[in-house]
Symmetry: C3
Subunit: 427 residues, 3 copies
C-alpha cells in the first residue's frame, strides 16, 4: 500500500520526473537488433520513457537514436530518407548523422552558417546480445555497457522477444518478482511447459503449496527466496534476482533447461515494453526449444502478425475461454503463461491504484523493490547506483537444496554468480 | 433550463455525489437474471453509478455483487474462478464469498490472521421478476424489496430487455416521461406497432394533435396526464407514471394489450442501462407478442449479437435511411421506436447541456421531475423518500375517458392502483 | 519559432478566441455545392471554427446554416425533416427557416406566444463558384462576396475538392506557402505531374536547386517569390500569393496549364478542411485534366469512398512504401503530391509545437504570414482588413523571367492581376 504521492513518484518516468531521471542513468533495451537489420534500412519509431524517438542504422552500420521530430519544422523523421550516412528529413531535406549533427541543409544558401547552430537531440544506441541498448542520461554519467549474462553469450545461446504491455511498467515488473502468483495464475500449466517438466523441483512445489518468502538486498537489487520443505534436513529454495532498475531473472528448473528473464521498459506512463529472454550459458538453444519460444510458449507470447502486440489482448478479453477455466485447463481461462500474467496486470487499470491494495507477507519482494527504487531517488547524484556496476548484473537465479539452518543468500552464494563457461547450479 | 450547477447536480451519480447518494437509497435493476443463469456460472462485470463491480452466483445459488478489483493487488475478479461457494482471484488465489468475506488466502501462511482484517466491498443482490436487483446504500437504510407490478408476476407474464445507452441517465429518463415527442419522433410508426393498433385511443390521438399536459405529484413521483378531446362530455386522458428515482410506466392501448415501462440506471455519468419491460397482470404474454419483443419491436431494440449494444448506434448514424424519411415511413429516418428515441437523445451529447434548452408548457413533466429529484436531495436523511415505500411502486398507468370537469388524478384514482389479479382499466 | 502564447493565439479559432473573431470577419468555403444538390435534400452536419452546424437547402432552394442543436431540448437537427421551406426537428417538431426563425412549434398550444421569443443561431450561406460560402461574423461587418478568380468562372473552368486534414489549419496553410519543400517532399514526382511537364520552368528548376526567396507584402497578404538563375540577364521567378486569412494560389507551369489554389479552413483546433481547386481563366478544363483531378492527381487526393477522408491517412501510415522510397520513386515513401504534404504535416502532431522549430531564410513566407495574422488582431475593429476588399482577392500567381535588377513584385505587377477574359502570364 502506497500513498498517492508515492504511487505517482514510482510510476512516472518522463524527462522531468524523479524516476525518469533515475532510469536515465542506466542502459536499457530499446529495440531488437532485428528491427534495424542492415545499413540504410528503414528508420524505426520508438518511444522510451515518454520521449518519441527515431532509431536508424546508417550506411556505415552506425546506430542513431534521435528526437523523432526534425529541428526545423518538427516533421517526423520517420518519413526521412536513410541514405549516405545520415537521415534526411523528407520535408525540406535537412540531414542528420547518428549523433544528431546537421550534415546538410539544402534549403538554405550554401554559405549559410545556420547549420552549425543546430543539433538534433540524440542518444547513444549500441548493439549487444541481439538487442539495441539506449542510454538517455547525462553524458558524463554514462555507465559501462550492460553485462547481463545473456547479453555476452553467442547468438545461438539466447532467444529474445518483446511485447507491448498496456500498463505502466511498475505493475508489470512487480509481476516479474512476484513468486507467489505462480501457484495460482499458472497452476494448471506448469506441467505444460517443457522448460518446467521432469525436474525434482516440481515435486517439491506440488508437495508444499505454501512457500515461505524471504528477501535479501543484493548489491544490484534484491534476492528473493521462496522456501519449500524438501526433506528432513533441507529446504528447497527458488531464488529470483531483481536488478535495478527493472530487470528480473527467473530460476530455471534443472541445469539442463534455459534460464529466463525480463526487462520492463516504460514506453510512456501507461504502456511498457515487456522484454523476455531465455538463454543457456554453455550450449546453444535446441531447435525444439527455439520453436517453442517462437511459437509463444513459456514466457514468450503469440503476436498479431507484423506487430509486437499480442494476439490475446484487452480488446478481445485475452481470448478468455470459460470452458477451459471450468475444466481446469487454465486457472483464469486465459491460455499462455505470459497472457495469464499481463491479462491480470492490465485488469488493474493502466496505472494500478496502490492506495487500495492490501499487501501480505508474500508481497515482501514487491514492498522492498519499491522501497529500494524510492531510496535510490535520494542518492541519484551518486556515481554508483545499485545495478549500475556491471558486477551487479553478472548474477544468476537458481533453485537449490540447502540445509535448514543456512540462510539462503549465503548458501546460494556460488550458484548466483555468473562464471562464464560454467553451467547453472540448479536442481 | 437549468443552471450549470443544477445540471451537474442532477447528472452526476458517483459514490461521492449528492445524486449518487440519493440513488443508493433505492433498489434498482443491475442485471438480467439470465446473465447469471446457474450456480458457479461465469462471473459478470457490471458498472453501476460509476462503480465497477463483479456479480456472481455461487455454488449454492447465492448472489454476490463485489467490488471488481481484488483487495490484495487490485486485479480484476472477472478472471476469477467461481467455485466451491466463492470467487477466487486468479492472481494469488484469494477467495471471497458473496458477502465479500475473505474465506481463503492461500498465498499467506496458514496461521496468518491477516485474512480476518480484509473485507471486499459488497452489495446485496437479489433476484425478483427475472431481474437481479442491487442495493448500494447504507445497510441500516435498506428498504423493502421492490414491488413494481411486473416484478411480482409469473415468469410468463413479462418480457424484459436492457440496452446500453450512450448518454447520461437523465436525458434518457426525460425521454420516458416526455409524452409530447410521441406525436413527432414516432408519428409514422404508431400504427406499425401491434400493441397500439385497433383501439379507440388511436382515433382520439389522430383527431387531436395538440394534447394539453397536466402534471400532478404522486406519493412516489409524478402522474403525467395528456388530455385530448374525445366527445362533448369527456376528455381522453393518457396518464404516465414516473416513480422515483428513475422508473417510468407507459399507459397501454386497451385492456388487452400489455403495459410497458422502463428504468434508466446510470452506468457512469455518460452511459446508462435502458431497461424495458412489457407485462400483463392477468395473463401470460402470447407467443406472437414475445416474438415481436425478442425481435426488437415496440419499446425493445435489435442488438449486436452477443452484446447489449444496439445494432443501430451512433457509430453507424443509427442506420439512418433518408429515403424512408422522405417517404414518411419514419419521421427521422431511423427505424424502431426505441432507436428513434435514443438516436435523438444521444445526439444531444453525452450529457445534455441544459443551460441551452428552452422549455415550454409541454415540458412540464420534465421540469417537475427535475425539481422533485433536487428537492429529494434536501430530505435525504429521511427514512421515507418518494418511491421507497412499496406502496408508491404498486401503481399503473392508464388511458381513460373522464368527464370534462373531473381532475384526471381524481378520476383515474382506481385505474392507477395495482390490484393483483385484476386487469388494467384502459381503453 | 514562436512563444507558447503566440502559438496558442495563432492556432485557436473557437468563437471566443482572438483568431476566431478575426476569421469570422471573412467569407470562407463551408461545403461543396454538391453536398446540398437540390431543394429539400438531406441536411448536412458541418463543423467550422469549432462550431457544430447544420446546413440545408429549403424547398425554395434557399440555403441555411444553423446551430446543429435544436433550441428546445438540444437534439441534433441532423435527424430533422427538410420539408416545406424549413427544417423540422425530429424530436418535438419545432421547425426553423433558413434564417433560424421558428416558423412552427406544434408541441405547444396554438395560441402560444413562446415561439416568437426563440431564434436559432444562423449564419449566411451563399453559393458561388461551386462552393457554399459561410460568413460567421457580426452582421454589420459582413463584407462583399468573395471574388477569388475561380469563384467567378464558368462551371466548366474549375475543379474543386476538399479533404479532411487531421491537424490544426496553421501547419496545413504553412505548407501551402512553403515553396522550398517542393524540391524535397515532391522531388521525384514533379515530372509525373502532367500539369508540370514540358515547360521551360522545369529546366530552370532542375538547373538551380537552391532558389533564393523574397517575400513582399501585398494588399491582401503576401507575395512570395522564389528566384532561380535563368540566363545572363534574367532570373526565373515563381511567385505565390497568400491572401488573408487562409488562401493560397500556386503559380502554373506555362500559360496552357490550369492554376491551382487552396483554402485551409479550421473545423476545430485539431482538424481542418483542405480545399483544393484548379481553374483556367479562358477555357474549360479538358476531360483528361478533369479525369486526373477526380483520380486524385496533382493537388487533389484519393478518398475513402463516400467520405472526404483520404485513403492514405495516419491510421495506415499513409500507405508508406519503403521500397518506392529506396528506389527514388517517391522521396518519403508516400504516393501523391497531396499525401506527401499532409503526411508530414500530420506527423508534427495535431498542433505543431512552434516553440521547438528552427526557422531559416527559406521560411521567410511562413514567418511573415504569422506576423501579418498577429498584426491583424490589433486592427480587428477596422472595417477593411487585408483580404476583405475583393480587389485583394482578384490576384494571380505567376512564373516569369525578369531582368536581374528588377524587383519581382514590380516586374510581375501586370501578371499578378486578374483581368477577366485574359490568359495567365506564365512561362
Amino acid at each position: 500500500m502506497l500513498t498517492s504521492d508515492q504511487n505517482v513518484l514510482l510510476t512516472q518516468t518522463g524527462p522531468e520526473t524523479p524516476m525518469g531521471r533515475l532510469f536515465r542513468r542506466y542502459w536499457f533495451p530499446a529495440l531488437l537488433a532485428e528491427e534495424l537489420p542492415e545499413a540504410d534500412c528503414p528508420p524505426v519509431r520508438v518511444q522510451l520513457l515518454g520521449e518519441k524517438l527515431i532509431a536508424f542504422r546508417d550506411t556505415s552500420g552506425r546506430l542513431g537514436l534521435l528526437d523523432e521530430f526534425c529541428a526545423h519544422r518538427t516533421a517526423s523523421l520517420y518519413f526521412g530518407r536513410n541514405e549516405e550516412n545520415g537521415l534526411r528529413c523528407a520535408y525540406h531535406g535537412w540531414k542528420y548523422d547518428v549523433e544528431g549533427n546537421l550534415t546538410d541543409m539544402p534549403s538554405e544558401p550554401e554559405d549559410s552558417k545556420f547549420r552549425c547552430r543546430i543539433k538534433q537531440k540524440s542518444y547513444p544506441l549500441v548493439e549487444r546480445g541481439g538487442v539495441l541498448w539506449a542510454y538517455m542520461g547525462p553524458a558524463d554519467k554514462m555507465p559501462e555497457l550492460p553485462e547481463l549474462e545473456w547479453a555476452l553469450l553467442g547468438d545461438g545461446q539466447r532467444f529474445i522477444s518483446k511485447r507491448l504491455q498496456e500498463t505502466n511498467y511498475l505493475q508489470a515488473m512487480e509481476g516479474g518478482i512476484d513468486s507467489s502468483h505462480v501457484s495460482f495464475a499458472h497452476r494448471f500449466n506448469l506441467d505444460d511447459d517443457p522448460m518446467h517438466s521432469g525436474t525434482a523441483g516440481n515435486e517439491y512445489i506440488k508437495a508444499d503449496t505454501r512457500p515461505k518468502f524471504e528477501v535479501a538486498e543484493s548489491d544490484g537489487g534484491l534476492l528473493i527466496g521462496a522456501r519449500r520443505n524438501a526433506n528432513e534436513e533441507e529446504f528447497y529454495w527458488r531464488i529470483t534476482q531483481w536488478i535495478m532498475p527493472f530487470y528480473t531473472i527467473i530460476p530455471p528448473f534443472g541445469t539442463h533447461n534455459p534460464m529466463g528473464g525480463h526487462a520492463w521498459v516504460p514506453i510512456d506512463d501507461t504502456t511498457c515494453w515487456a522484454w523476455s529472454w531465455n538463454y543457456h550459458p554453455t550450449r546453444d538453444l535446441r531447435e525444439d526449444e527455439l520453436q517453442q519460444m517462437r511459437n509463444g510458449d513459456g514466457i514468450h507470447a503469440k503476436y498479431i502478425p507484423g506487430t509486437y502486440r499480442t494476439l490475446a489482448n484487452k480488446d478481445n478479453d485475452y481470448l478468455m475461454d470459460r470452458q477451459a477455466q471450468k475444466q481446469k485447463k487454465t486457472f483464469s481461462g486465459i491460455e499462455g503463461i505470459a497472457a495469464q500474467d499481463f491479462s491480470l496486470q492490465e485488469s488493474m487499470g493502466e496505472i494500478a491504484d496502490r492506495t487500495k491494495e492490501r499487501l501480505g507477507t508474500s508481497d515482501a519482494a514487491i514492498i522492498l523493490a519499491r522501497r529500494r527504487l524510492l531510496a535510490a531517488l535520494d542518492s541519484m547524484e551518486d556515481d554508483v547506483l545499485p545495478g549500475l556496476d556491471t558486477a551487479d548484473q553478472r548474477v544468476r537465479s537458481t533453485s537449490v537444496l540447502l540445509p535448514k539452518d543456512v540462510p539462503f543468500h549465503e548458501g546460494a552464494q556460488q550458484a548466483i554468480q555468473v562464471v562464464p563457461g560454467t553451467d547453472f547450479v540448479s536442481i
